[in-house]
């Protein structure tokens, strides 16, 4: 063996017979948007359960692109909730504290549930505010 | 000693050799042989499927010559061949089979079924299941010298008649002649013109020939009934006569199975090669034609077609000669469909015509030959076997078709240039 070939040409370059998961997924999103408009029904696609070939996930995300809203959530590690360039199609990515992806979903809905403040949190927030107001007189 | 099942089974065991074993190992029951057999195509009765006619021989092969078959027999799992079955199969192996060999030509795995029928008959005859007609013919052939009971005086009468009227010389017992001609009883009795024809042709071509008074009979009932000893005895007579007269070659006349008996089976029957050649009359005539020693004039005008006798053409190999000869004497010679090596049988060969029981079936299946003739709208039919000839005539009569049937040699003779006429030398 004449020395190690550099890792570049060992990288597996998928042949042109790509498995073509991107196209069907875009169609699935298209139908989900149709359902959202007609029946108001939200859809969530878990990208983890689809056998994506190497590089296909990136191609899908490039296809979806970025829209007007990009929300950042930090609870138990960061999460990104980004609206794609197709309104109503949200890319929700959860990371753990080492910012490794622990889940990536495509949510077709008016707004992902996680963005909404939750009743319990509001109650806790209210309690915290009341405590703050109660303890200092110089409002 | 009389015929018996044991002797039949014994003959079957003798009859099985490499080819028979290979054929039985190869049959896949595809039924194609039926579509080549006129006894099936004209009756539609599946029992006439050629390979089915070999069932008794097959069972003996399986039980005697295969490990699995012997094993099954030891455990009583196999059905030995019974006398009733041989009785049942008699009409299949004799009445509905002329050993024409068409099935052997189409079998996709290459089984030579006619080869096996010939060997099955050895067992059937030994078991006493040969048809009456054939037993009688064989007895007459051995005792009198001809299956039709023709004796020498009858032949001598015909010869005298021909010599006086046509001024021909028919040399009998001429030692040292080149050719010894055989005649079939059918020709002596029904078509004596054949003898006149060869006399005139040989005279013109100055061929030295003779007929032996001790062995003039060409037919051989032995190979039709399927008893090789009888066939060998009849062949031995011809060999003795030919050697006695020291001829160079024996000419087999216009008779199908006679050619098969003397040319192909003869040496194997008596167990040693002949010291002389054997030629069919058409091979001789064609040779003369090639050597330019056959001078003819004029041509038959009517639309002629040719029937290939199975034992001469498909099983015998004499195929081109009749065409060459017909083309010099016929203007409008046309081939029937499937002519040549795949021609259909007249239905009378292989001993069927000698077996009265089969007459009704034989005439029924003649319809196959009728459709060939209809297809070509022949006005005249030429053939090279007197047995075919007489039963073609009978068939045509049965189906109300008036097409004259003539022998090829006779047709050639009619167009010979007459002595002194100064035809183109």
């Amino acid at each position: 063996m004449s020395g190690l070939t550099n890792s570049e040409d060992l990288k597996v370059v998928p042949g042109e017979f790509l498995t073509g998961n991107v196209q069907p997924l875009l169609h699935e999103i298209r139908h989900a948007m149709g359902r959202l408009l007609d029946e108001g029904e939200a859809t969530v696609i878990d990208l983890r359960s689809i056998p994506l070939a190497p590089g296909e996930e990136d191609r899908l995300l490039r296809e979806l692109g970025r829209g007007e809203v990009a929300a950042h959530l930090s609870a138990l590690g960061p999460s990104e909730l980004v609206e794609s360039r197709f309104p109503g199609v949200w890319i929700v990515t959860h990371y753990n504290s080492d910012s490794e992806v622990i889940g990536r979903f495509i949510e077709v809905c008016d707004m992902p549930g996680l963005l909404k403040a939750q009743q319990d949190d509001i109650r806790d927030g209210l309690a915290a505010l009341e405590a703050r107001l109660a303890c200092s007189t110089d409002a | 000693m009389s015929a018996s099942l044991e002797r039949g089974i014994h003959a079957f065991k003798e009859a099985i050799d490499g080819p028979v074993a290979s054929f039985f190992s190869s049959c896949v029951h595809c039924g194609l042989c039926a579509h080549a057999c006129l006894f099936y195509t004209e009756t539609g009765d599946p029992k006439y499927t050629p390979i089915h006619k070999l069932e008794p021989l097959r069972r003996v092969w399986k039980q005697e010559y295969t490990f699995w078959g012997r094993y099954a027999r030891a455990f009583g799992l196999s059905k030995p061949v019974t006398d009733e079955e041989l009785g049942e199969w008699e009409t299949l192996v004799y009445d509905s089979c002329t050993m024409c060999g068409r099935c052997s030509m189409v079998c996709p795995v290459g089984n030579d079924i006619a080869y096996m029928i010939r060997r099955t008959r050895e067992g059937m005859a030994a078991a006493g299941h040969a048809p009456e007609g054939l037993i009688g013919a064989s007895r007459r052939a051995v005792t009198i010298g001809s299956p039709m009971g023709v004796k020498l005086p009858a032949l001598e009468a015909q010869i005298r008649h021909l010599e006086q009227e046509a001024g021909l010389t028919i040399p009998v017992d001429l030692e040292g002649a080149d050719y010894m001609c055989l005649l079939s009883s059918m020709e002596i009795m029904n078509f004596p013109e054949y003898i006149g024809a060869i006399a005139r042709i040989f005279k013109q071509a100055n061929v030295s020939w003779t007929i032996s008074s001790e062995a003039f009979e060409a037919t051989n009932s032995g190979i039709q009934i399927g008893v090789s000893e009888i066939a060998a005895e009849l062949v031995q007579r011809v060999v003795d006569a030919a050697e006695k007269l020291q001829v160079k070659a024996v000419i087999s006349p216009e008779c199908g199975h006679a050619y098969m008996a003397i040319r192909w089976e003869g040496p194997n029957l008596i167990g040693k090669p002949f010291s002389f050649q054997v030629m069919h009359i058409m091979e001789v005539l064609d040779q003369l034609r090639e050597e330019g020693r056959l001078k003819t004039t004029g041509k038959e005008k009517q639309r002629l077609t040719y029937h290939d006798p199975c034992q001469i053409a498909r099983r015998g190999g004499v195929l081109e000669q009749p065409r060459n000869l017909l083309n010099i004497v016929a203007e409008d010679f046309v081939e029937m469909p499937e002519a040549g090596k795949m021609n259909w049988c007249c239905g009378a060969g292989g001993g069927v015509s000698a077996n009265e029981r089969a007459d009704e079936l034989r005439l029924r299946v003649f319809n196959r030959k009728k459709s060939q003739l209809d297809a070509v709208r022949a006005e005249g039919l030429v053939t090279a076997c007197s047995n075919c000839r007489i039963y073609l005539e009978e068939g045509l009569e049965e189906y109300h078709m008036d097409i004259p049937v003539t022998g090829l040699t006779e047709t050639i003779a009619e167009h010979l240039v007459e002595e002194g006429e100064g035809g183109e030398r």
Binding site: - | G18, S25, C30, P108, V109, N268, P273, Q277, G316
Partner: protein, 220 residues
């Protein structure tokens, strides 16, 4: 209980060895039982060459004459389709070539799998048609015995089970592959005891046929 992996290992190992042994011994015995019987030399004066005639018939008997083709078109055509289909599926499917390569050491290029898949489908359909023909056609029904139907079944099973195994219909795939291998081994074991022997003896039969005719100058 034998697990699926052990079952597959056993089927591809000892069981296949037994099947191949029975197949090879059986075929060898049957061929030699025929060849050793032999044939007496022909004492008549030859007109043509028996050997040339024999060789010629081995090849030419594969091509039916026009009249037979017309009279029995169905048998001829279906016969060709399922034989060719069976051999193409067996010999040109990539995994099968691996099998032959590891057993015999020789290898050859494969056909694309969709081609094999389509061929298998055509073969199965044709074989079903052949069975219907064998049940309905006067001559074939008359000739057919138990063995003809058994051999039909043993011939179609490997193709059907192979097709199902490839398309993973129904039961878990290892079982499908196991069933496929079992059907092939059954085919091999029963082969020497049935008319499947024609695959080998047809060459001898055609040779004898052609030799007998060639000796007499007839192209049979």
């Amino acid at each position: 209980m034998m697990t699926e992996t052990q079952l597959l290992v056993w089927l591809r190992g000892p069981a296949l060895q037994v099947a191949i042994a029975i197949f090879v011994v059986g075929v060898a015995v049957r061929l030699l039982e025929v060849l050793v019987l032999g044939r007496k030399a022909d004492l008549a004066e030859a007109r043509g060459s028996a050997v040339a005639g024999g060789m010629r018939t081995i090849l030419m008997r594969s091509f039916p004459d026009r009249a037979t083709l017309q009279r029995a078109a169905f048998t001829e055509i279906t016969g060709y389709i399922f034989h060719i289909g069976f051999f193409v599926t067996l010999l040109f499917y990539a995994p099968h070539i691996l099998l032959f390569n590891s057993a015999l050491g020789i290898s050859w290029p494969a056909l694309p799998t969709p081609v094999i898949d389509a061929t298998a489908v055509v073969t199965i359909i044709t074989l079903v048609a052949v069975l219907i023909h064998r049940l309905t056609n006067r001559v074939m029904r008359f000739l057919s015995r138990f063995q003809d139907y058994l051999v039909w079944l043993l011939t179609i099973l490997p193709v059907v089970t192979g097709y199902i195994a490839f398309h993973r219909i129904g039961v878990t795939p290892p079982i499908l592959i196991a069933i496929h291998i079992i059907s092939v081994e059954l085919f091999l074991i029963v082969f020497p005891f049935t008319k499947l022997m024609h695959a080998f003896t047809l060459f001898m039969s055609r040779y004898y046929n052609g030799a007998i005719a060639g000796y007499r100058g007839v192209k049979s």
